[in-house]
Assembly symmetry: C2
Homo-oligomer: 90 residues x 2
């Protein structure tokens, strides 16, 4: 099977980043539609990193190493959260 590391990283981090964002921004929406929009938007701004793997379980550390670090993913997610919260489609 093939998988895209940034996709795993974004799935891993979205709840944490949304929670942090919501601390300073009450009324932040975390419905499934908004979360999917945030993930799609983030992933379109991160370089793809597809790999072939037989392993279902991949270490979280490996994921971040492969996408150039956790900070890059958090930044993409934060920018996407701001956009989606301004124009929610739910």
């Amino acid at each position: 099977m093939i998988l895209n590391y940034p996709e795993l990283a974004v799935q891993e981090l979205i709840d944490e980043v949304l929670k942090e964002y919501a601390q300073n921004n009450p009324h932040t929406c975390n419905c499934e539609r908004c979360k999917n929009d945030i993930m799609a938007l983030s992933l379109n701004n991160l370089p793809p990193k597809y790999v072939v793997t037989d392993h279902g379980n991949i270490l979280t550390k490996t994921i971040y190493d492969q996408v150039g670090g956790k900070a890059q993913v958090v930044a993409a997610l934060t920018a996407a959260i701001q956009k989606v919260q301004k124009n929610p489609r739910h």
Copy 2:
């Protein structure tokens, strides 16, 4: 759910492009490992285009429109086939 249009396009086209390539290049390998390597390599050279969808069935025409045309995907696949055939990992 979220999905990456280039991933659908590559899955849709790989057999056709491999078959065409094999006509001029006998001994072209189309084992699962090589096919996965070709798809991963192609996808790392195509801009991501993630969207949110509830629909399992997406029109093939829509897929190509979303990735900037079929030709771009065929070109990425052909370049990846050449690389993988030179250095197969099977």
